[in-house]
C-alpha cells in the first residue's frame, strides 16, 4: 500500500493510493476520494514523539564516489539532517541568489518501522517500515571541509523534498525481492539527467541498518537517505525536477527564488 499525508479542506489527513486517486482512510472523511491535484502533499511521515533522526549517506554509489572523489569510502560517510529541511511532493525549494551550482540528489529513503538496536544484516529488512523518494539537494558553492558535507550545504530549509508516497516495505520486497533492485532516474524539465540502480550502492540497506544500529538505536519513523548515483547537474530557478525510483514514486519539485 502507498501512504500519503496531505492537507485538504483545512486539515491534515492520512490517505492511501487507490486507482489513481487518493483515498482518505480516517474520520471525518473515511472513504472520501480526492484527485492528486486537489491536495497539498506533505512529507509522508507520521509525527514522532521526539526529534526524528535523519541519516544521509554521501558517496554511497561507486560511480558518484568516482565523480566527486578519488576513492570509495571504507565505511559509510554519514551526516545528519534536521526535520525542518523536509518538504513534501510538488513543493518549492529555494535556490539562493548568486549560487552557481545547486544540484538534486535522487535517493531511496528507508523509513524505519520498528525500534532497531544491534541488528544483523540478515534480519535488517524486518525493521524497515517502508520506502520513499528523497531529493537531497546540495549547494556546492557552500562546501567547506569541516564536518563535510556541512550544514550550510545540506541542512537548508526546503532543501529536502520527500515523498509522495510511503510504500510499505513488504510491497517492495514482494515485487522486487528487495530494495537493492530498483532503477533511479532524475529528469530536469523532462530531460533525463541522472540514471542509476540501487544495486550499485556501496553499502546496501541491510549493511547500513547493521552499521547504524551497532551504535545508535533507531526508532520508528527515523530515516536513512541512502545516497545518490552519478549524474548530478546544476539546476536553476523555475526548473522542474522529478526524482523517480521504480516502484516507489515520482517526486516533483520546482526551484524558486
Amino acid at each position: 500500500m502507498k501512504h500519503a499525508r496531505i492537507a485538504w479542506a483545512g486539515a491534515v489527513h492520512e490517505a492511501v493510493e487507490s486507482n489513481g486517486e487518493l483515498l482518505l482512510t480516517r474520520s471525518p472523511w473515511p472513504g472520501k476520494r480526492l484527485k492528486f491535484e486537489e491536495v497539498v502533499w506533505l512529507p509522508p511521515l507520521a509525527p514522532v514523539p521526539q526529534a526524528r533522526t535523519i541519516l544521509a549517506l554521501g558517496l554511497n554509489y561507486a560511480d558518484h564516489a568516482k565523480e566527486l572523489a578519488f576513492k570509495a569510502p571504507e565505511e559509510p560517510l554519514v551526516f545528519v539532517k534536521g526535520e525542518a529541511s523536509l518538504i513534501g511532493h510538488k513543493a518549492f525549494t529555494r535556490r539562493p541568489q548568486g549560487v552557481t551550482h545547486m544540484h538534486y540528489e535522487c535517493e531511496l529513503a528507508v523509513v524505519m518501522g520498528r525500534t532497531a538496536k544491534n541488528i544483523k544484516k540478515e534480519n535488517a529488512y524486518d525493521y524497515v517500515g517502508g520506502y520513499t523518494v528523497a531529493n537531497d539537494y546540495a549547494i556546492r558553492d557552500y562546501l567547506e571541509n569541516w564536518y563535510r558535507p556541512n550544514f550550510r550545504v545540506k541542512n537548508r530549509d526546503t532543501c529536502t523534498p520527500i515523498g509522495p508516497w510511503l510504500v510499505d516495505a513488504k510491497d517492495i520486497h514482494e515485487a522486487y525481492g528487495n530494495p537493492m533492485n530498483l532503477n533511479l532516474q532524475t529528469t530536469v524539465n523532462g530531460k533525463v539527467t541522472q540514471s542509476g540502480h540501487t544495486r550499485d550502492m556501496i553499502f546496501d540497506v541491510p549493511t547500513l541498518i547493521e552499521y547504524f544500529s551497532s551504535f545508535m538505536t533507531l526508532q520508528p519513523g527515523d530515516l536513512i537517505l541512502t545516497g545518490t548515483p552519478d549524474g548530478v547537474v546544476n539546476c536553476d530557478v523555475g526548473d522542474e525536477i522529478v526524482t523517480h525510483i521504480e516502484g516507489v514514486g515520482d517526486l516533483i519539485n520546482t526551484l524558486s527564488d
Binding site: 564536518y147 563535510r148 550544514f151 545508535m216
Partner: protein
Amino acid sequence: MLVMNNIQKNEPHSARAFWPQGTVYGALLNFKQEWDMRAPHMLDAPHKGAPKAPVLFIKTANTFTPSGQTIAIPHSVAEVDVGANLAWVMGADAKPVACVLVNDVSIPHESYYRPPVKYKCLDGFMGIAAKAKPIEEVQSDAVVLIVKVNGHEVQRVNYANTVRKSQALLSDISAFMTLQEGDVLLLGSDCLADGKRPRAKPGDVVEISATGFDTLVNQFVGDAA
C-alpha cells in the same frame, strides 16, 4: 512557556523536567582557545581553509540522557570527551526562550573533516539538566560553567571566550537555516590547555554547573551490552 513544560510521556525523570522537543544542534570550534590552536593548520589538507560559516552537528534523540542517569561508554574506547555546553532552547521565530546545561559527550576524535556521527551520536551520549532557565534571566556570553569529575574541578568554561557570541552564532546560522520552536542549540564546548577535552571513564561522576543553573550530573559506566 510551551517548550519548557512539554513533557515526554513515559520518561522516567520528574514530571517538570526539561526535555528537548526538537532537533538538537551543536556548534564546533566556538571557543578562541581551540580555534587558535588549530588555526596554524586550517589551511592544510584536508581542510584547505578556515571555516567560514558556523560548523554544526546534530545530537540525535537516541543520545538524550536525563541528569541523574548513567551514560554507557562502549567497550571499544577507554574514555570519552566531556563537552560542557550552555544550550539555548528555541521558541517561535528562531528566538531563544530558555537556557539549559548539557554534556555533549563524544568519543575523542582529532579530525574535524567528516561529520562526527559515530563519535557523537551513540546511545546516551548527551546529558541534559532537568531544568531550563528563562532566557531573560541569563547573560549567555557571561556564563561560566564548572566541570567536575568525581568532585574535583577539571575545567571552567567561560562564554566570554567564544569565537561567535551567542547572538552572532544564531544570526550566522539563521542565514542558511531556521531553528524551529523546540529546537536546541549548543553554544559550544571548550578544550583544555592541551587541546583535549576533559575525559570520563567508567565509574566517573561528571558534574556540570553554573551559578543559578540546575546542575547536570551523570555517572559514566561500562557498556553492559
